[in-house]
């Protein structure tokens, strides 16, 4: 099972690496959205510092929505998804592999980029570390929850907008705890409780999402 998992991750990461433009566009989208806020709100560092956690987190949420549709649609279009579903390995393991690969190519760059953007917003160094930790725990959860929506809307017209409509409400707890952790850290409180809750959400999502996504794929491919 681990071999299957590693194989799927490798395959998807290779495919993503060969079509780099898609991966980079998500990252640029994230950077641009975050950089728009100072232009809209004004350059005062005090204001920016208070809105920074929310802005970075909402931008990360939107960026991860943007790339969700791609998680299954290419494989669906060229028929390889059907072949993957016919393999004797459990579908939820295959799905988990695809989700991990999706996070590696879209989520992980956001996590690495976020502290730089945080610096632009005048976030103190201690809180930058919390930002990094919260995104590290939160973005995999976003990919996991989003996978269910991506599988449900597979092959539908206007699927890209629909998937956001379905998934965004479900992602709200992640947003609350993630932004809450950074905010607590900026104001000098302990971010531990928020991070623990975020970890709990991740564990729950890790437990249920691959299974639900596999069920959704079976419904969509019927």
């Amino acid at each position: 099972m681990l071999a299957t998992l590693r194989w799927v991750i490798q395959r998807d990461a290779t495919l993503a690496w060969r079509g780099r433009a898609g991966v980079l566009s998500t990252l640029f989208f994230f950077v641009i959205v975050v950089s728009l806020f100072p232009l809209g709100v004004g350059p005062e560092l005090n204001v920016l510092r208070t809105i920074a956690p929310g802005v970075v987190w909402v931008a990360a949420l939107l960026a991860s929505m943007l790339s969700l549709e791609r998680m299954f649609s290419h494989d669906y279009a060229d028929g390889s998804l059907e072949q993957l579903m016919l393999t004797p390995q459990p579908l939820s393991v295959v799905v988990l592999g695809k989700i991990v690969a999706h996070w590696l190519v879209t989520g992980a760059p956001l996590v690495l980029m976020a502290p730089v953007l945080g610096l632009q917003f005048g976030v103190p160094p201690g809180a930058l570390l919390t930002l990094l930790a919260s995104l590290l725990l939160g973005t995999p959860a976003l990919s996991l929850i989003g996978a269910v929506g991506a599988a449900l809307t597979l092959g539908l017209r206007g699927g890209g907008v629909l998937v956001s409509l379905l998934v965004l409400p479900l992602c709200i707890p992640v947003l609350i705890f993630g932004a809450g952790a950074v905010e607590a850290s900026i104001t000098g409180a302990s971010a531990e409780s928020h991070l623990s809750l975020l970890g709990a959400v991740l564990v729950l999502a890790l437990l249920f999402a691959p299974w639900a996504t596999a069920a959704a794929l079976r419904i969509s491919m019927e």
């Binding site: 269910v148 449900l152 017209r157 379905l166 409400p169 709200i172 639900a212 419904i219 969509s220 019927e222």
Partner: protein, 249 residues
């Protein structure tokens, strides 16, 4: 003597459920009208004004039932959706699809009346309090369910995809209820709690419970009416439905 058993499975067939629903609707409609009239009369004329909030509290007779129904209907929808997935019978999925618009309506109503109540009590139409926010999320979940179902043309896939979404979203409903205890902010604590003495006067409680019953009956009536429409729409090519439509013309 052998007891005669009602064959409940019979009614999972749309062709048999359609006339049953037709017979039940007048019964529940009358109940709705009576309970609504009694509940509103008690709420607005019999119950005394509140010691702190004066007359403005009377919106509770709409607000609380609407908020409850929005949550219960979501759970009920998820249960029907789960039954539909488990037993693969169309009628359950049709019921889930029929409940969704009513649930969305109640969620909207509870947000609307909440805003009207918040203005005189807290001085603002809207606060980002846990329960308000989670009701808003519930409303979004209903909208997501309805738009997913209407985006998929194949009804079988629409039913099953919607069912899965409803089950995933049902995880959210307990969070709504416990959010009061988690992030207790501006919103007053729950007025009714099982196992505890209710914190409002008995007459107010009676009126409130009657209003809740009225909203239940209303939901049942409207859901049955809507499920009849859905059955007719989907089964229009079945002989019995075609015959019925011939009669209607």
């Amino acid at each position: 003597m052998a007891r005669r058993k009602i064959n409940w499975y019979k009614y999972t067939s749309p062709a048999n459920f359609y006339p049953l629903a037709g017979k039940l609707i007048p019964f529940f409609a009358v109940l709705t009208a009576v309970l609504l009239a009694v509940g509103l009369y008690m709420g607005f004329f019999v119950a005394p004004p509140d010691a702190v909030q004066g007359e403005a509290y009377r919106i509770i007779y709409i607000h609380v039932p609407a908020a409850w129904m929005a949550m219960f209907l979501y759970l009920l929808m998820a249960v029907y959706a789960g039954l539909g997935l488990a037993f693969n019978a169309r009628i359950w999925a049709m019921m889930a699809a029929a409940i969704a618009p009513t649930g969305a309506m109640f969620a909207f109503l509870s947000l609307w009346t909440g805003a009207l109540w918040g203005k005189p009590m807290w001085g603002t139409w809207w606060v980002w309090d846990a329960r308000l926010t989670s009701t808003l999320i519930l409303f979004f979940l209903y909208l997501g369910f309805i738009s997913l179902q209407s985006a998929i043309e194949d009804t079988r896939r629409a039913d099953r995809a919607g069912a899965l979404l409803a089950l995933v979203g049902a995880v959210n409903v307990p969070i709504i209820y416990f959010s009061v205890q988690w992030w207790n902010t501006l919103h007053q604590g729950a007025s009714l709690r099982l196992g505890q003495k209710p914190s409002i006067a008995p007459i107010m409680l009676t009126a409130l419970l009657i209003m809740i019953a009225a909203c239940w009956m209303y939901s049942i009536t409207v859901t049955l009416m809507r499920v009849r429409n859905i059955i007719l729409e989907r089964e229009r090519h079945a002989p019995w439905a075609a015959e019925l439509q011939g009669e209607l013309k």
